[in-house]
């Protein structure tokens, strides 16, 4: 019976061949677990899309009501707290594993020729996902959302030349209003997810095109010198994507999903208080992944220097990251054989952790 259905499809569209083509991709053998982060991110994105779609059944992006709609989902919709919790912790997990995935690619030199474009496409995905996180934070509609919208649109207003216009366009006017919330909503649920859905296939397509290349440990038996580009074409051993690599992907996906699920059920998603523009004692807080940037904003005092913290440093930092494969052009891949890149990477990660930790401290407590 099953064979008959299969034949029916094969005669028309060659389905089996297509599936084998998809599943048969050869993956380098030794680093299997290190290569699971990419598919884990695709999995997490799917989770975000699915939970997000069903959160829309109850959500209203109107400013004073948005927070109450979120509260309603959490407390009055059956199992809504779980759905909301998965969406929140899934987002946090996604940003965390994006950083892990990026670090893995960075330290194993996987962005090098011929995979430069993969890195650039990956950076686009990274930028978009961070903005998705920020807009999601704004859509909760609580007090933090209100101030985050104000602060971040003000940050945008310090962009040279177009800054003022940019802020008016984002806000839909001079002030944060219902239009602002509608813009953020449209960007969060449609515009940026569409970009992600477009760029994930490009990212995957490029991996297929550049072939089964891996970390330096895949080439131990290879006698070619490191600066020979041909060395990286032939790993010592490969396995088919399905089921060998997919099996590892699924185990990692299950583990991470279990953690998200437990966090969603046990900790849940804090909704927070209604926004009060008149509050005299409220200290706005950013989400954890934005704290490093938040800390940066505290430096560079004065009129002439403000542009460093709001525009120049983040923009130049992002540009360097985007252009990384074109800056570091050596063929060497092992992190131990390119100490400068490795040390710089570790220092950058430490700086990020340090800024995040001090950025999370209370700044000007009302009781001082």
């Amino acid at each position: 019976m099953f064979k008959k259905i299969q034949d029916w499809f094969d005669e028309r569209i060659g389905l089996t061949e297509l599936i084998n083509e998809f599943n048969g991709e050869r993956i380098p053998r030794r680093g299997g677990w290190a290569y699971t982060f990419g598919s884990l991110l695709a999995f997490l994105f799917t989770i975000q899309v699915v939970t997000g779609i069903f959160l829309l059944f109850y959500y209203v992006p109107y400013f004073p009501i948005a927070r109450n709609a979120t509260y309603f989902i959490k407390h009055h919709v059956m199992l809504g707290n779980v759905l909301l919790g998965i969406h929140l912790w899934g987002a946090f997990t996604m940003i965390f594993f994006l950083l892990v995935h990026m670090s893995r690619v960075y330290f194993s030199g996987a962005y090098k020729k011929p995979r430069e474009l993969q890195w650039v496409v990956g950076m686009v995905l990274f930028s978009v996902v961070v903005i998705l996180g920020l807009t999601g934070y704004m859509l909760i509609g609580n007090e933090n959302s209100w101030w985050t919208i104000n602060v971040l649109t003000n940050v945008a207003s310090h962009t040279p030349v177009i800054g003022g216009f940019l802020r008016i366009i984002i806000r839909g006017g001079t002030e944060t209003s219902v239009i602002t919330m509608q813009h953020i909503f449209a960007v969060h649920v449609w515009l940026l997810p569409a970009v992600v859905m477009l760029f994930i296939p490009i990212h995957l397509f490029m991996i297929r095109k550049t072939g089964h290349q891996g970390m330096a440990l895949e080439y131990k038996n290879n006698k070619l010198p490191d600066d020979d580009p041909n060395k990286w074409i032939r790993p010592d051993g490969t396995v088919p994507f399905f089921p060998d690599q997919f099996y590892k992907d699924m185990i990692v996906a299950l583990g991470v999903f279990a953690v998200i699920y437990i966090l969603a059920v046990v900790v849940g998603a804090p909704v927070g208080p209604m926004y009060r523009p008149l509050a005299l004692n409220f200290a706005p807080e950013a989400d954890w992944y934005f704290l490093a940037n938040e800390e940066l904003l505290k430096y560079f005092p004065g009129h002439g220097l403000i542009i460093f913290s709001t525009f120049l440093v983040p923009t130049i930092g992002f540009m360097i990251l985007f252009a990384l494969p074109f800056i570091d052009r050596g063929h060497e891949r092992s992190p131990f054989k390119r100490p400068a890149a490795t040390v710089l990477g570790i220092l950058f990660l430490l700086l990020l952790v340090y800024l995040t930790l001090i950025g999370g401290e209370p700044k000007a407590p009302a009781t001082v």
Binding site: W147, N150, V151, N154, V155, S157, G163, G164, F165, I168, I169, R171, G172, G173, T174, E175, S177, V178, I179, Q182, P277, L278, A279, L280, N281, F282, A283, P284, E294, L297, K298, Y299, F300, P301, G302, H303, I306, S309, T310, P362, K363, A364, P365, A366, V368
Partner: protein, 173 residues
């Protein structure tokens, strides 16, 4: 019958030009209304209103160099709705007896300021900006002194406009 692109290179060039032109025309035709929609807020005039704050006689009673926070509720048109924007006005009487009407938003990135009586300073909870009671920057990253609301005194009452003095780029609010 027209020649195929394989039979005539000229025909191939012609087809490619036509494909390119059609794409460009459709693209521009779509991009213009989309740009118009997105940029529309730039061309809308902002709704400016006067709102009564308090009687002058009440404000003159406050002790000098002690900020008094008074909420003001602007009813303004925003997009398709008329909304009430609650905002804080910090009234400060200086030693000569003049009244200042400051906004409680930090001039750095707009967070709500806290008044710390023990230090006689406004402090920003976000990035550590500090202002003295007369709105001057005394620490942290703010690029300029506190914004002052545009105000007028009419028939013994103070009226506030939802607009800041000396704010060419319309930051804050």
């Amino acid at each position: 019958m027209a020649k195929s692109s394989e039979e005539s290179p000229a025909r191939r060039t012609f087809m490619m030009v036509v494909i390119g032109l059609i794409s460009t025309v459709i693209g521009i035709a779509l991009a213009v209304p989309i740009l118009g929609e997105v940029l529309s807020p730039l061309f809308k005039k902002r709704d400016i209103v006067w709102t009564k704050l308090s009687a002058v006689s009440d404000l003159e009673k406050i002790s000098p160099l002690t900020p008094k926070f008074i909420p003001v509720y602007f009813k303004v048109k925003e997009g398709w709705s008329i909304n009430t924007l609650p905002r804080q006005v910090i009234v400060v009487k200086d030693i000569t007896g003049d009244l200042h009407f400051f906004s409680n938003q930090c001039t750095h990135l707009g967070c709500p300021l806290h008044w710390i009586p023990a230090r006689q300073k406004f402090m920003c909870p976000c990035h550590g900006g500090m202002f003295n009671v007369l709105g001057e920057v005394v620490g942290g990253p703010p690029p300029r002194p506190l914004y002052e609301w545009i105000h007028k005194i009419d028939k013994g009452s103070v009226f506030i406009q939802n607009k800041f003095l000396d704010n060419p780029k319309e930051r804050g609010i």
